[in-house]
């Protein structure tokens, strides 16, 4: 009697499947809208990035990094990006960037408003906080499941999974930042007869901006971390090369793609972090 009795078998999976099927059919309009929205945005980002000549992108990176950091970093990052091109991975890099960028933009569009309402309502905070905690402890693979359940395979579920995985930091930090606006500052805004919207836009959000920027940096890095995993369900880009290299045990290919991802991650991190620092108001 060491084995679990075969007679006990709860077929939960099938019910979930039926439920999801029902959702997808009855709300097919809703899912289609999301799907085409994501796709439309992604394709535009991708087309624009692919349209810009490669050297202009390098110049752009150099200038941006010079502005937020210094010339030395600018030139160095430019060289690193050039290296990715030299590995023959330019287009792959652009495809990866498009997925990351799309996911980050959606994360911000969804995350900042959630963070705001969460900051306004203690009750909502109590509900959402444990959810965010759970999301961050879950292995990133888990996010692939709902993504394919709702959107099958392809770039859309890849963006969907990446977005869900990377949204918690921006929600968390927006909430925190708005709650931390000094009481007197808020009272001052109200005492001049500001409407709730004016208070939010003219005082709370600008005050919260440095912290929200830190959240954007973290969210972007989380999205980068999903690059390889999301390739498993259809994201195009550098992740595919890594997966293929693993399958074929192709060290050369794996190395070049891996290094390219690391380069991209470092540059995005440094640039967004430095940009966030610029937002800090000196005491």
């Amino acid at each position: 009697m060491r084995e679990f009795p075969e007679a006990i078998r709860i077929k939960l999976g099938i019910y979930v499947e039926i439920f999801i099927e029902w959702l997808r059919e009855d709300f097919s309009g809703f899912f289609d809208a999301i799907k085409s929205g994501i796709l439309w945005f992604l394709m535009n980002v991708q087309d624009i990035l692919l349209f810009i000549p490669w050297w202009l992108i390098i110049v752009g990176v150099v200038l941006l990094a010079t502005k937020v950091r210094n010339v030395k970093s600018g030139v160095f990052y430019g060289f690193l990006i050039f290296l990715i091109g030299a590995f023959g991975l330019w287009e792959m890099m652009i495809l990866t960037l498009a997925v990351v960028l799309t996911s980050v933009v959606i994360s911000l569009l969804v995350g900042i408003p959630i963070g705001i309402v969460m900051a306004y309502s203690d009750r909502l905070e109590v509900i959402i906080k444990p959810l965010l905690d759970a999301m961050q402890t879950m292995p990133s693979f888990v996010y692939l499941i709902p993504a394919i359940m709702f959107f099958d395979l392809g770039t859309v579920p890849a963006v969907f999974a990446t977005t869900i995985y990377s949204v918690p930091p921006v929600i968390r930090l927006t909430n925190l930042a708005i709650r931390r606006v000094p009481k007197e500052v808020l009272e001052a805004a109200k005492s001049f007869g500001s409407s709730p919207m004016q208070t939010l836009v003219k005082v709370e959000l600008p005050q919260a901006m440095p912290t929200i920027m830190a959240g954007i940096n973290q969210t972007t890095m989380m999205a980068m971390a999903m690059v390889v995993i999301s390739s498993m369900i259809g994201a195009k880009g550098l992740g595919i090369n890594v997966l293929t290299a693993i399958n074929r045990i192709d060290i050369a290919m794996g190395f070049e793609a891996g290094v390219s991802i690391v380069i991209l991650a470092i540059i995005i991190d440094r640039i967004t972090q430095s940009a966030a620092d610029k937002f800090k108001y000196p005491e």
Binding site: E184, S191, F192, Q207
Partner: protein, 390 residues
Amino acid sequence: MSIKLKAKNITKIFGKKPKKIIKKLDEGLSKDEILKETNHTVGVNNVSLEVKEGETFVIMGLSGSGKSTLIRCFNLLHEPTKGELYVDGENIVKYDKKKLREFRQKKMAMVFQHFGLFNHRSVLENVEYGLEIKKIDKNKRQDIAKETIKTVGLKGWENQMLHQLSGGMQQRVGLARALANDPDILLMDEPFSALDPLIRREMQLELIDLQAKLKKTIIFITHDVNEAFKLGDRVAVMKDGEVVQVGTPDDILSKPATKYIEDFVQDIDRSKVFQAKHIMNKPRDVAFIKNGLKVAVKEMKADGRSSIFVVDGNRIVKGIVTIDEAIEGIKENKTIKEVIDNDFNKANPEDYIQDLIYKAVKSKYPIAVTNEEGKLIGTILRSTVLSALA
């Protein structure tokens, strides 16, 4: 003077179900008992008071006595748990959200203890804030803001960020931001408490000057008795959420309503509160030039004094003469003009005693208190100055 703001039975209780606690207060339970029994804090307890148009009304009390809570009831940053609040005769507690916003935009502005400034905005943008909320167009509001910045002495700092300013200057920005809105009522919650003493004194004097020009209704909060008596036309003393006495500084000093207030005003620095007019003697004993030396000597002898101020027909002080020199002068047949001494000290009736100390110590004569036209309206003996300090 008309009543600008009238508070009637204002009570503010903090906690989950404040309305329920009102009953307990009515039953006579104390703030401590209510906190222990129900975990509610009584911030303000049944306060009624009236603030007149154009006066500086000071609310003073120890930390935790409910001053901040009360002043926040006045612009409804705290909604009173009970009570009515009339501004220009209208009960503002009844206002809906829109009316309340309009009210705040037009009638009241507040200055905060820790300044409450927007550090993401420049000095100019901070001062503009209230006007921006009122949707006044950019050019006009910048003009007004610049003018106000000049009034508070910050001209040239318009485009700086706040961290480049000292504490005193930051509070000037706070004051300018409030004044730019041209409110009828200025609420000031311990505006100078976070500043060091020297700057604080300077700001107090400037506020007095400014108020002489602007004639706003000012509600000013402080825990510092000296500040209260220096600035306040009338002062309300708070304890445990209640107002225990309202009156002029003179009233409160001379007739403290309770032992608590007596103790409170004890550590007051009289030299900063009392002015020349409070301690001067009415000049019964003056010598008129036309009456000559003999009359002067007689006056001095009658009063047992060693010197006397000499005035002309308009009571303008011309000098002082001592009894010795007067007698000497009579012997030598001199006129009064030949023996009077001009080396005496004058003071304005509004001078604080602390500014008279030096004069009292330096001169051998009493101090002449004169009005703007130079008329003698009082004299202060040197010993009076020094004994007033005790």
